[in-house]
Structures are given as C-alpha cells and as structure tokens.
Symmetry: C2
Subunit: 216 residues, 2 copies
C-alpha cells in the first residue's frame, strides 16, 4: 500500500510510530467483532491470534497510549474500543468528497461501508460535462471547478481520488489547494504533496505484487 506521511504533527509521530497507528483500526475492528459476539474481556493472546501478531507486540502497541489492561485479566473490550476510537478520531463524523465519477468513483460513493464508520460522502466531483449533473447514489455530481468552494462550505476534511492516473496529480494538487490534508488515492501513482498533507493509497496491484514474492 502506498503511504505517504508528511503529517503536520511531527511530535505525535515521534512518539507513536505510524505503523502502530495503522494497526489501531484493525484492533478496533476485532474488538467490535468480539463485542458483537457477546464478549466483555479479551486477552492480548486472543487479540494477537486474530491479527497474526504476538501478544507482546499487542501490549507494546497499546502501551503507547497508557495502561489499558490489568495484568492477568485482559482488556475490557468496550472501554478499549471506545478509547482507541477516541485516539483515532473516530468518535465523530468526517465529511468526505470523492473526485472522479467513473466506474470506480461510483462504486466508492455507493459503498455502504463508509457511513457506519463515520465517513460521510457529502459531495462527488468530475470534470466531464457529460457526467456533471448526474445523480450518483443521491449526490448530484459537481464540476471540479467548484471544489474549493464546496470543501469550505461543507467543512470537508478528506478527499478520495478516483480519477485516471493521468489526472491524479493535478486533482490532488487541487485538493491540497482547497485545504484538504487527508487524501485517499486510488490512482496507481505516488503523488507528490507538500509537508503537512497525508496521502494513503488504495492500490490492489501493489498488494498483489508483494504477494507474488511468496508464491513465485
């Protein structure tokens, strides 16, 4: 997964390695699954088994954020999940814009997994006159020319880029110019962004390419 991290908060990064931050959502997911199946307490062994990590690694990751568990008793699932959600900023709703309403962009806008997790797609953009004005899952596609104004008006904090590779860097530049600091990029390139802007890539090809190493 292509990940760029030029976070605006170097102090936090020094304290908590980014790889730990990237694992926390997995913890939240497993805690939620255990909670839904009626468990109250989970051990670092159980967490480790779910996540293919050692119990020691789990305890070390969580130790960055204070003491969550009691020796020999395990973690209170509800409390740990709530605290991790607060740490990750998942205790609120984030407004999201998706740019690029081709097949991929339309699939992203209609994906039911974002809203329950607090990511609310509030606007959709394209630069093609034939697509602007279309309805995509209840959103009227806007012209990318109105991006900056809409980002400001709707307090959009996250941009999802689903345009073809040839347009991705310029769309990302526009998002940055509009004040967006968190970008999820589906285009298969490593975009250049200024310090203080974070880009994560969703790129199935990169994932496949690092698996073939093990089966080649």
């Amino acid at each position: 997964m292509a990940t760029k991290n030029n976070s605006s908060n170097p102090a936090l990064q020094t304290v908590v390695p980014e790889v730990v931050i990237q694992r926390l959502p997995l913890y939240v997911r497993v805690l939620s699954q255990f909670s839904n199946s009626g468990h109250d307490v989970i051990s670092s062994e159980q967490l480790g088994q779910q996540l293919q990590m050692t119990p020691a690694q789990i305890r070390k990751d969580l130790s960055y954020f204070g003491r969550f568990g009691k020796q020999g008793r395990g973690y209170d699932i509800a409390m740990l999940e709530r605290q991790l959600r607060t740490i990750l900023g998942l205790d609120r709703t984030w407004n999201v814009a998706v740019i690029g309403m081709g097949r991929l962009g339309r699939a992203v806008v209609s994906y039911p997994g974002f809203a329950p997790e607090g990511f609310k797609i509030v606007s959709a953009f394209d630069s093609d006159d034939k697509i602007i004005g279309m309805d995509v899952s209840g959103l009227v596609v806007q012209s990318t020319a109105s991006l900056a104004a809409t980002v400001k008006k709707l307090d959009i904090k996250i941009g999802i880029v689903t345009v073809p590779i040839a347009h991705a860097q310029s769309v990302i530049d526009s998002l940055v110019k509009a004040g967006i600091k968190s970008i999820l990029n589906y285009a298969p390139l490593s975009p250049q962004v200024p310090s203080g802007v974070m880009v994560r890539g969703v790129d199935p090809v990169l994932s496949l390419q690092s698996m073939t190493y093990y089966i080649r």
Copy 2:
C-alpha cells in the same frame, strides 16, 4: 491495510522483513516512472524523495537482495527494475479469479490496471442465479460451485474476494480448499486462514481510520 502473512516459506521471511517486500513494488513503480521519462540512473536520494524515505533506508532495503548500485554513481534503472521484478515474481503472468460480481466485483474485473502488470483475470464467480451467466467485461460469470474445478483447470494462483462481509469467510475457505495461497480481500473483516495462505486486505475504511488520527 489489513495484512495477514502466514507464508509457506518462513525462511525467506526471516531473511527479508515483510515490510521490505511490501515496499519493493513501490520501488518498481518509481523506477518505471523514471525510466519512462528518459532517465537511466537514479540515486538513493532521488528514490527516497519519491517515496518519502531516507536514502539510508532505501540502501538497506535493497541490500537484502545483493549489491545493485555503485558507490557515488546511483542505480542503473533498467537493471534494478528488472531485478526487482524477478525477485517479486513479476516477470510472468498470474491467473486470477474474482469472486463476487456485485458492483465492486464488476469494477475490479473491468479495472484496466491489473493486466499490464501481469495479473490476468481469467474467471469471475458469483453464487446468485440472477448473476451467473452474465457477461462482465468479456467473462461469463460462473457459479461458485465450480470454483475448485476452474482454479485447477486454468492454473489460477490468486483469488480476489469482492463478496459482502457476511459471505467473505466462507468464500475465502472455498478458495483455500481449492488450493489458492494468495488472496486479495475487499471485505471489511480479518479472515482466518491456515498457515501457508496469505491474505492482503484492500480496505479504504482502515486507511481512512488511520489518517483521522493525524487530523482529529
């Protein structure tokens, strides 16, 4: 990104950390971009700048695989790209099956980024009688009941799972039973797989959830 690694080759993993393997496709991409723009040689500084890594980290990553560069001269782009592709198993074609022909699955099958990188989607599956038999980007959707036979017949080595979360674990079980050892999973869960099977997750929600930490 949810990543599970129960590789069948622990010796290789001991030698090369998985995080290094996961970065190699990014190297290949940047080398290819530089090559396409007419460059012959690249320094670890230039590579590092593109990938937001230090030159020392680049040199350390590559040192796992031998000596590629000459001190003070940089890397021969064409040679390094070719060698990394061989290391990653990207010097051949891999046959791929996609299971789940809802909106996401259809977007995956029609995504133009797989084939040029050697990932050939040769069959598409669904369990819904209304979808079986449909044409999706030139493939006739087959019943998941014929998964094992088709995997064998077409020498499929990679499965891409695009079914809803409720069916993901059982579809992954079927893939494993059919002999697939590399699975790309789009469903938002951490599936359990036996040792020797590798699952990588493509999960935009997890990526978003670890970015909000920095902007919360």
